[in-house]
């Protein structure tokens, strides 16, 4: 009896403390909580996951004054419609996204890279990404979620991460605590550039492919297929001919690896990829181009361009400096 009373008391306390939350009116196509991902678990079969477009993830957190490693909502194509209840809070959306904010009877058109405040009963409707895949929504506070292996990132295929490893669901309520006391309006002038040329370093099985196949890989255009998700991006185009073996002894994979299975169509491993694979690796996308690669929508044309390791390292340093520079402008 006493125990029951204690339990009831606990629940009561929780109800009185948590008063800020959002309710999911529409969940969107693939809305998940993401942060920087989880490390050092490849050897047991668990990939990094984390925000697909790391730059836009970092910018979203910085705009609302969060620490750089807090989780945000990542959405793909159509985002969620959320109704907010509680104390005044700031939000920011990054990427290339169309959204509106409903305050009583006013409908405000939102802009990316700019903070907006939400008050009790306001709604945010993320209608679509604009010729890009992923967008990010950050709240100036912390979501009341449970992390798994030091990360909140959700991997829906493996059911790993916060929110029981699932996408955001309709009618769900997500509590927010630790709202920043000092809400500042922030704005950043930034436009996402699109790329068609994806730079790659030759893979460890590059010699498995015929001269013609190698030529196709670096000279022909490929089209991003509809069968692309957080695990991988499938490409269509001229077939790449293998002259040694269409299988290798299974070995580790990393994000950005381009595998070519027997059908000759390349597949690029993305953040939720399986940790081991048995198809030959023709190339690896350089780190500097990863954020831009994941934003390519189905139907986009891409061309691979070879770079040496030293150039790839320099290009990443420049890309990272640019990201740090954008963060410091906020």
């Amino acid at each position: 009896m006493l125990l029951l009373l204690k339990e009831l008391l606990k629940i009561n306390i929780k109800i009185t403390i948590i008063k800020n939350y959002f309710e999911v009116v529409r969940a969107g196509i693939n809305t998940t909580f993401q942060d920087q991902g989880r490390k050092n678990l490849y050897h047991i079969g668990i990939p990094f996951s984390g925000a697909m477009d790391n730059r836009n993830y970092l910018l979203a957190n910085k705009l609302v004054g969060n620490k750089s490693d807090l989780s945000v909502l990542e959405f793909a194509y159509q985002g969620p419609l959320l109704k907010y209840f509680g104390d005044k809070i700031n939000i920011a959306i990054t990427g290339d996204v169309n959204f509106t904010i409903k305050k009583n009877n006013d409908l405000i058109n939102g802009n990316c890279y700019e903070t907006f405040s939400l008050e009790n009963g306001n709604e945010i409707d993320i209608t679509s990404t604009n010729r890009s895949v992923y967008g990010y929504l950050a709240f100036s506070g912390e979501f009341d979620l449970k992390s798994q292996w030091s990360s909140y990132s959700v991997n829906t295929k493996a059911n790993i991460g916060s929110n029981d490893g699932k996408k955001l669901q309709v009618n769900q309520k997500i509590n927010i605590f630790k709202i920043n006391q000092n809400l500042k309006d922030k704005k950043l002038n930034y436009i996402n550039t699109k790329i068609e040329n994806i730079r790659v370093i030759k893979g460890t099985n590059f010699h498995y492919f015929s001269d013609q196949g190698k030529k196709i890989f670096f000279e022909k255009e490929f089209i991003v297929s509809k069968l692309s998700d957080r695990m991988g991006m499938r490409l269509e185009g001229s077939k790449i001919e293998n002259i040694i073996n269409t299988n290798i002894k299974s070995e580790g994979l990393i994000k950005g690896v381009i595998q070519v299975p027997a059908d000759g169509n390349p597949i690029i491993m993305l953040s939720d990829h399986g940790t081991i694979g048995g198809y030959p690796k023709i190339g690896v996308v350089i780190s500097a181009d990863y954020d831009k690669l994941v934003q390519l929508i189905p139907g986009s044309k891409i061309k691979f361009k070879e770079v040496e390791l030293s150039s790839a390292e320099t290009l990443f340093r420049l890309y990272d400096l640019e990201t740090q520079n954008l963060i410091s402008q906020i």
């Binding site: 490390k39 050092n40 678990l41 490849y42 050897h43 047991i44 079969g45 668990i46 990094f48 798994q148 292996w149 493996a158 059911n159 790993i160 370093i201 893979g203 460890t204 002894k249 299974s250 070995e251 580790g252 994979l253 990393i254 950005g256 690896v257 399986g274 940790t275 081991i276 694979g277 690796k281 690896v284 996308v285 350089i286 780190s287 390791l309 790839a312 390292e313 990443f316 990272d320």
Partner: protein, 224 residues
């Protein structure tokens, strides 16, 4: 020993231990994996040991290929070190509802199912690696007369706990997943426990595994 270290993209080292798949080479891979893990090298954020390769992923903001290659080439590996492997017995039920591909195997291997099970349950297996999906162990080696290829068309859903065989290997599906291995039975034992923050894997590279046949009733009443 590592035969060659090359770069896999700009943020990973590809350590090649040779072409063959055998316990000796794989034990070398596991020794390196455990040594590097112990060293806690700045910037290293993932290690993937497999049959005869070890991939070392790193954060390009913190280190680079050249520095890390030198570090790993000069790493001292204690070859006499015990791998501290565990011996684990896995209960498996081969009821017809579980051994989904046994008819196919009887045809392909030209042997009765009892003969196939006899061979399988009297063998000691070695864990070469875990992965592909969380916690899935890749165990070997099956006898020559037990080796078959993958299914021509992979299943969209292989049930959780399924025991599969292909070529010289056997594996365990830690959760429902697509897959092309030949399924011979199912274990009630939880191989991967995602609620554990530490050591969610029951089976790790280097461990020695035997399978024990159980009845349908034992399966139903299994305490795990």
């Amino acid at each position: 020993m590592i035969k060659n270290i090359s770069n896999l993209g700009d943020a990973a080292l590809y350590c090649d231990f040779g072409k063959e798949v055998n316990k000796d080479i794989n034990s070398q891979v596991i020794r390196y994996f455990k040594s590097i893990q112990k060293e806690n090298i700045t910037g290293v954020n993932n290690l993937t040991p497999s049959y005869n390769k070890l991939i070392v992923s790193f954060d390009l903001r913190k280190t680079n290929f050249k520095d890390l290659k030198k570090l790993i080439e000069n790493l001292e590996i204690n070859n006499s070190d015990d791998l501290k492997s565990k011996k684990i017995e896995i209960p498996v039920c081969c009821d017809e509802n579980f051994s989904l591909d046994i008819k196919r195997l009887e045809e392909k291997l030209k042997a009765s199912k009892e003969k196939l099970f006899d061979n399988f349950f009297n063998k000691e297996f070695f864990c070469y690696m875990t992965g592909f999906i969380a916690g899935m162990p890749f165990l070997g080696d099956l006898d020559e007369n037990m080796r078959v290829k993958r299914l021509e068309t992979p299943r969209v859903k292989v049930p959780k706990g399924s025991i599969g065989i292909t070529e010289q290997f056997t594996n365990i599906y830690t959760y429902e997943s697509p897959g092309g291995w030949n399924i011979i039975g199912n274990t009630p034992l939880s191989i991967f426990d995602s609620s554990k923050e530490v050591d969610p894997n029951l089976i790790n590279p280097g461990d020695v595994i035997t399978f024990k046949r159980i009845t349908k009733d034992q399966y139903k009443n299994y305490n795990y």
